[in-house]
């Protein structure tokens, strides 16, 4: 290895030592715990916890609910943000609007949840009108509208700015002008040029937001309900239970969730990096 690679190698080694090694060790420990080999009250190697968790509707409903919430948030946020980015493209450069759009992104999950809770709960500013109109509650509700809205609060501005940036870097203006010259109509320019360019440019971020929302904790803790509940809430609830026999099941949930998201990220990231490595 040449001299110039040593500090870089040291940095990567530090990442391995501080981040990946503890994470790998803890996952191995979680795996052993879930198999009854390690941990408190370990009964010895058994698949009982796995079979009990896998046959429990609780796990599958939590997993399905997490996927539903993530899909709803990403789908709505992308649709809204695409509309805004296309409508306001000229104003999203260095103007005041892009500065203001950063504001909701400064809301942590706990705060976004708090704002939505205070607004939409039965005693909240909007919630009172909703209750008076005889409509169902918007927080702690089965469809998770409160959870979705809290995530949208930060996701829509994020995607709007991202799409505006992608439109710039992918030279959307030039391509749409070219399409118009070649006779493409308004809808064709949108469907065949603008949307594919912007969605392709932002695809990695879209999937990463999907994974982040799927694993979110603070917002569903505040705005969700116990049945169905999101996967992080289920994992921590099982882990924190006084009943120690629930702990191995918490690890089963954690490992299953990790496998699902790892598979998803590998699928998404691997084909996106076709250029491969550069010569060292």
């Amino acid at each position: 290895m040449s001299w110039r690679d040593r500090p870089a190698l040291a940095g990567f080694a530090l990442y391995l030592a501080v981040a990946l090694l503890p994470l790998a060790a803890s996952l191995v420990y979680g795996g052993l715990y879930s198999l009854g080999i390690a941990g408190l009250l370990a009964p010895g190697a058994t698949l009982a916890y796995w079979s009990r968790t896998l046959s429990s509707p609780e796990l599958w409903s939590a997993l399905a609910y997490s996927v539903y919430i993530a899909a709803a948030v990403v789908g709505l946020a992308v649709a809204l943000a695409l509309t805004l980015a296309l409508l306001l493209r000229d104003r999203l450069g260095a103007g005041w609007l892009s500065g203001v759009l950063l504001l909701p992104m400064a809301l942590p999950g706990a705060v976004a949840g708090f704002v939505i809770f205070q607004t939409l709960t039965a005693a909240g500013v909007v919630g009172r009108w909703v209750a008076a109109a005889g409509l169902p509650a918007l927080t702690n509700d089965r469809p998770g509208l409160g959870i979705i809205l809290a995530h949208l609060l930060t996701a829509v501005p994020f995607f709007t700015l991202l799409f505006a940036q992608v439109a710039d870097s992918e030279r959307l203006t030039e391509f749409t002008a070219l399409a118009r010259t070649l006779g493409a109509g308004r809808v064709q320019r949108l469907r065949r040029v603008a949307l594919p360019l912007m969605l392709r440019g932002a695809s990695s971020s879209i999937w990463l937001v999907f994974v982040v929302v799927m694993g979110s904790y603070e917002i569903p803790l505040l705005l969700g309900r116990q049945t169905p509940e999101m996967i992080s809430v289920l994992a921590l609830r099982k882990y924190a239970m006084y009943d120690l026999t629930q702990k191995p099941e918490a690890f089963v949930v954690a490992i299953l969730y990790t496998l699902v998201t790892a598979g998803l990220v590998t699928l998404v990231m691997a084909p996106g990096d076709r250029k491969g490595g550069r010569a060292a």
Partner: protein, 238 residues
Amino acid sequence: MAALGVGAACLLPILFLVIRSEPGRWAAFWRADPGLTGSLAVSLAISTMVALMATAVGWTAGRFVAYHRRRRALLLLAYVPFVISPVVAGVCLLYFYIRIGLSGGVTGVVAAQLLFAMGFAIVFFQGFWNEEKRALEDLARTLGSTPAQIYGRVLLPISRPMLMLCFFQTFLVSWFQYGLTLLIGSGRVRTLPLKVYDYLGEANVAYAALGSCLLVAPAAAVLWGGRWLLARGTRDVS
């Protein structure tokens, strides 16, 4: 008109928080609960430490990944922390941290948050370490620079805006962290997001709103600072 509507929609949550926090009574609230100052200080200290270390590691490790012939595989390793929900990771990590004596303290929380911030920082620098930077290094070496001179006089100065931007971003990664801090800190490390949740649990809306304002203000400043840095960087390049 649409722009004004979007702008108003973005400002509404912030205005709501400010109004609900009863700004006229901030001083009284502050005096009444010294824990708020403590939480703010702990949050600032943890986020600053995490951001400093993650930026340093991300800068060097990002360079290693970007120039490596197995870039794709190494980049996937950097994405590993993204894969795992902080709470799920916390559930698995807690026992490990208890065994090595890191749970329930600031050091443990910093170490756990670094796990996520470092991965983020490595991915952040992937666009920065490119052929242009390599050409500059090669040029400096051809002109007789030592390795230390290349780092100190070439790479560091050209990296400064990106280093600051990465510092800001990783600061936010840590600043927003709730579940991991709750688990690894074992309830003893009371950062600002945890304090806000305490107030919410007590149905103490005004204090929760004040805590939220304290959480949002530095985050907004950091995001605006990053935007200003990016704009300045673009201007310098052009």
